[in-house]
């Protein structure tokens, strides 16, 4: 098998990567004559097979994993990160290094993790970059003498993760500490359970092969010591919480759990000291561990959603361009003072409330007001923080910054709403209350029965009953069902923040829907066309030359791939009025009624229609060709394609639907009527405060015992307070990510299309929870019957308890709550990973 060798002196060649496996090709195998290099025959063959099978997409996928395509870089300088105020607020000095935590946008997989943690090799002076993938927060440590934070931030932005300061460091440090405490408790409980199980195994084995009595006593004492530790340290949470439940007379699942643990533990201690009788240390310690584990996963899940509050900060920018003399400088908004002058470029959010000092532009205030049309502002007009400057540069005189701005006040309302929300009594807790009563009654019965039959073993049997009826399947399986359901829902793009939501959404109730961005697309689009169709291509060509939002919407919606291209020779645009151009040799004027009528003759019919449309809340745009009006286009906020079908299905299921919008009443009525709402169900012109009041009024009118809940669906900041006040607030994608903070469910897909899927999943999850209840009830009644009959010994308890929990667990894991997320197929060229 001798290869034909042509030994030449080693040549330094350019590095090459194998086309197939992406590993380095040995320099001796590089063939300069070929485009594709391979490291071996295997790879060459594999490459040709992949090609003949039509699977080239594999390389594309792998490429995405290997080097995540750099996202379009921003031109932000991040110079404000070097500002003294910023440094004081967000960084700390540890020895020669400076540390800072930054929240990164767009972090979502282990490839991001790998890329970001490799950053120290790309940026000189950066010593460490640790990413918490779940929270999207990177912890940086760097040498300030070598590199500035702004430079690190620019690098992060250039690879597609624009950073912003993580502001609530203190509250998070607290949460991290709490997490750590929980984990320590869990680990301790696990270690104890494992050891006690070993002793128990030895003891059970000793039943059969006559064990030395001194060994037996030693094992019993050792398991006692360990179990007592488990009960007073990790297990103490159950006793504390049931004590609170008893004092406040609120039913809680922890009460029967604590009862079982306490009875089993105490009685076993007693029998151990006495030297004879049954012990339940193994069952008790395993219960403590299993229950703590269930609880830990549940709280982790909820924590993950709570952290999304970070997104709130994406609402207002973290920096501003302050005008200082002739130049502008990036400064953090914390250092802005009333009276400062800031420059706001087109496309930026406003950093503060203030007055326009100079400039003329359109501002999108839909976040605050729900108004779908951009508002024109000019010198002297008031503008609000968080709104978006659309078309031209503005200079704004700062009046208020931070919490005292309009958006800041709205956020305070949101926070209040979250606290005011009535606690929904949890399903398992209610069942747990009945459980406790039943158990106690049965235990009393057993005690009485056996005091009469065999007084020596009466307490033994009663304790056995209490231990074996511990509702751990309920205490464990319910959180697991909820955790799995929320996890699966999250992968389907539905972020559910708490278990109570699942219960609330499993039955139909009353739903209040926001209009802008929820039922409609939230942007301008062509909603009507009247007149000559042949000029559509002409309008498209002319409007394509402009960047004005109206022009952009027209150009987008009039695109016709089959139309022949039209040549536009000269254009003249008048801001806020219209455009005049020569296209295909014809003079074309497009714009508002007043603008077009000064330059061309407008027919009576067109003028009438334009006025009627304007009255209905849609924007009429006239088109005149060669001096005569020929067509009329209407721009408005288009209804989402899936809205009608979804709403009809909701009505069929028994939901009562209303629209509440900040937009003009006429607009709301028009949209409502196309979606099947009656006139009185369409409420327009509502301020955020009025929406809040509406939600509270509707909520109060519902009977809490009927199981009917008030659901608010919205997207903008103007909905945030109402979202927080509703029984369940559902925020939809597209508007302010800030409403995330206020809502209970966040749908990452635009529109209300996924609401049905959400409700179906919640219904199925509740079904599984109920089924778990029946499973555990079955086990518990069987075991209770055995215990009452006096036949239960610790061995049977140790076998039955885990089986009951495990079967409930298995049922939960296998059941379909939300559709399981299938991995994306390599074979399917249409799907994107």
């Amino acid at each position: 098998m001798a290869a034909e060798a042509t030994l030449a002196s080693p040549v330094r060649r350019a590095k090459a990567l194998c086309r197939h496996c992406n590993l380095v090709v040995p320099p001796g195998l590089i063939d300069p004559a070929r485009d594709d290099q391979f490291c071996c025959h295997g790879c060459e063959t594999a490459y040709s097979i992949i090609h003949t099978c039509g699977l080239e997409r594999y390389y594309e996928l792998r490429q995405q994993l290997d080097d995540r395509a750099p996202a379009p870089g921003t031109d932000r300088t991040y110079n404000d990160f070097d500002d003294d105020t910023f440094r004081r607020l967000h960084t700390r000095q540890i020895g020669p290094l400076t540390r800072c935590e930054l929240f990164l946008h767009g972090v979502h997989c282990s490839a991001c993790l790998w890329l970001i943690e490799r950053l120290p090799r790309m940026v000189k002076g950066l010593v460490e970059a640790r990413l918490d993938l779940r929270r999207g927060i990177v912890d940086l440590a760097w040498d300030d003498r070598v590199v500035k934070l702004s430079q690190i931030a620019r690098t992060l932005a250039s690879i597609g993760y624009p950073p912003q300061p993580a502001r609530d460091r203190k509250s998070r440090a607290h949460r991290v500490a709490e997490d750590r405490r929980q984990l320590t408790r869990l680990a301790a409980a696990g270690a104890i359970a494992g050891n006690v199980m070993l002793f128990a195994l030895a003891l059970y084995a000793g039943i059969f092969d006559a064990m030395d009595p001194s060994h037996r006593t030693m094992f019993r004492w050792m398991s006692m010591v360990l179990t007592v530790i488990a009960l007073v340290w990790p297990g103490a949470v159950f006793f504390k919480s049931s004590w609170v439940a008893i004092r406040t007379r609120t039913p809680h699942i922890d009460v029967p759990i604590a009862l079982a643990l306490g009875a089993g533990g105490l009685w076993s201690v007693f029998t151990t000291i006495k030297g004879s009788g049954e012990i339940y240390f193994d069952t008790v310690s395993v219960l403590v561990f299993a229950l703590l584990a269930g609880r830990f996963f549940q709280s982790r899940q909820q924590r993950a959603s709570a952290d999304d509050v970070e997104l709130l900060f994406s609402l207002t920018p973290s920096s501003a361009r302050r005008v200082e003399g002739d130049a502008t400088r990036d400064v953090p908004i914390e250092s802005l003072q009333p009276g400062d002058l800031v420059q706001v470029l087109a496309g930026d959010s406003l950093p503060c409330d203030g007055e326009v000092d100079s400039g003329d532009s359109l501002v999108d205030e839909s976040l605050l007001s729900g108004e779908s049309r951009p508002v024109r502002v000019t010198t002297g007009d008031r503008v609000a923080a968080g709104t978006l400057n659309i078309s031209a540069e503005l200079f704004v005189r700062v009046q208020t910054v931070g919490e005292s701005t309009r958006v800041g006040q709205l956020m305070r309302l949101v926070a209040d709403g979250t606290q005011r929300k009535a606690p929904i009594v949890r399903f398992a807790d209610v069942v747990g209350a009945w459980f406790t009563l039943g158990m106690l009654a049965l235990a009393a019965l057993t005690l009485g029965l056996w005091l009469w039959l065999d007084p020596l073993h009466a307490v033994d049997h009663a304790v056995a009953l209490l231990v074996v009826t511990c509702p751990c399947a309920l205490g464990l399986a319910t959180p697991i069902v909820i955790t799995i359901a929320t996890g699966r829902a999250a992968r389907r793009g539905m972020l559910i923040k708490g278990g109570d939501v699942i219960q609330s959404l499993s039955k139909p109730g009353v739903m209040i829907l926001d209009k802008t961005g929820t039922l409609t697309t939230g942007g301008l689009s062509l909603v009507a066309w009247h007149g000559d169709d042949s000029v559509r291509a002409l309008v498209h060509a002319v409007e394509s030359t402009s960047t004005h939002p109206v022009a952009k919407a027209l150009a987008r919606d009039l695109t016709d791939p089959h139309a022949a291209p039209v040549r536009v020779t000269s254009t003249n645009q008048i801001l806020g009025r219209g455009i005049e151009a020569v296209a295909a040799g014809q003079r074309v004027v497009i714009g508002s009624l007043s603008f077009v009528s000064t330059l061309a003759r407008v027919t009576l019919e067109h003028a009438d229609l334009a006025r009627r449309w304007a009255a209905e809340g849609i924007t009429p745009i006239l088109v005149a060709v060669d001096g005569v009006s020929v067509a009329l286009a209407a721009l408005g906020d288009g209804v989402r394609p899936e809205a009608r079908a979804t709403l009809d299905e909701l009505r069929r299921r028994g939901w009562q639907l209303h629209i509440a919008s900040g937009d003009h009443q006429d607009v709301v009525t028009r949209v409502g009527s196309t979606l099947g709402f009656t006139l009185e169900d369409c409420l327009g012109g509502l301020s955020p405060e009025a929406k809040l009041a509406l939600v509270e009024r509707s909520k109060a009118s519902l009977d809490p015992r009927s199981g009917r809940r008030l659901v608010m669906v919205g997207d903008g900041v103007n909905d945030a307070a109402a979202l927080a006040a509703a029984d369940v607030g559902i925020a939809v994608h597209g508007g302010a990510e800030a409403s995330l903070a206020a809502c209970d469910v966040y749908l990452s897909r635009p529109g209300i299309g996924s609401i049905l899927e959400l409700f179906d999943g919640c219904g199925r999850s509740m079904h599984v929870i109920r089924r778990n209840l029946w499973v555990s009830l079955f086990y518990n009644t069987t075991a209770a019957a055995i215990a009452v009959a006096g036949l239960l010994n610790p061995l049977i308890a140790a076998i039955v308890m885990p089986i009951s929990s495990l079967s409930a667990l298995a049922v939960s894991l296998k059941s379909r709550t939300f559709a399981d997320h299938r991995s994306q197929s390599v074979l399917d060229p249409g799907s994107r990973s």
């Binding site: 098998m1 030449a8 380095v24 040995p26």
Partner: protein
């Protein structure tokens, strides 16, 4: 025997990044469930790797048989352990050529027959039409049909054992070494190994030499021992 099996396992484990690069695409094809099927990813992984195991051990068995017949033939002309020594030497030779290539010396490759390549392509295309589980298993089986130098170096070692069972065992050890990387593939593992990749050609080349040396040393010791035993017998008798 044990040092050789251990050596194969360690070499395979360290060099398995190559397998990940080369077979990653096929693995992805094998473990992609159909839209409507209810087969889980885990079972597909199991089927694929089971296919590989069957294919490897069969190859090892056959190689062992060939080695055995070489040994028998060698003994007839008075050469002891012909297969083992031959295989070890070829293996070391392979390794040295690979080291030279990694150093930049140009040594031409032997081309596998075109017909084989075409047959393998057809087989893959056919497997693509099967049910997910069958497809995963078949793609696993077909792994050995790729002309992979790394794999065949170990098949050579298996032949060197001169015993079908040991040959199968040697290939099973090789399979076990590739298992961690192949099982973990699909989570962007390629990226995680980033810095290691640069030195892979040299590393695998050296590993080949080492396994060859272990194999040769084992044989030589074995020969000495059997020589010693026969001496005892001669003198004792």
């Amino acid at each position: 025997m044990t040092p050789l099996i251990a050596g194969i396992f360690v070499a395979s484990l360290l060099g398995s990044l190559h397998c990940a690069g080369m077979c990653g695409a096929f693995l992805a094809l094998a473990v992609t469930p159909d839209e409507e099927s209810r087969v889980g990813k885990a079972s597909l992984h199991v089927a694929y790797n089971a296919g590989r195991l069957c294919s490897y051990t069969t190859l090892g068995l056959v190689a062992g048989l060939v080695g055995r017949s070489l040994d028998l033939g060698g003994e007839m002309v008075g050469v002891q352990r012909a297969a083992a020594i031959g295989a070890s030497l070829i293996m070391i030779g392979f390794g040295l050529i690979a080291v030279a290539r990694a150093q930049g010396y140009s040594i031409r490759r032997l081309h596998p027959p075109r017909a084989l390549q075409a047959a393998v392509q057809k087989a893959y295309a056919a497997a693509g039409a099967w049910s997910p589980l069958g497809r995963a298993y078949a793609i696993g089986l077909l792994t050995t049909a790729l002309p992979c130098g790394w794999l065949y170096a170990f098949v050579l070692t298996a032949a060197g054992t001169g015993d079908p069972l040991s040959g199968a065992l040697a290939m099973a050890a090789f399979w076990l070494g590739t298992l961690p990387v192949m099982a973990a593939l699909g989570v962007g593992l390629q990226s995680l190994f980033g810095p290691m990749r640069r030195h892979l050609p040299m590393a695998t080349a050296l590993l080949l030499v080492i396994v060859g040396v272990i194999s040769l040393a084992g044989r030589v010791r074995h020969m000495r021992e059997s020589a010693a035993i026969s001496e005892v017998f001669c003198h004792g008798g």
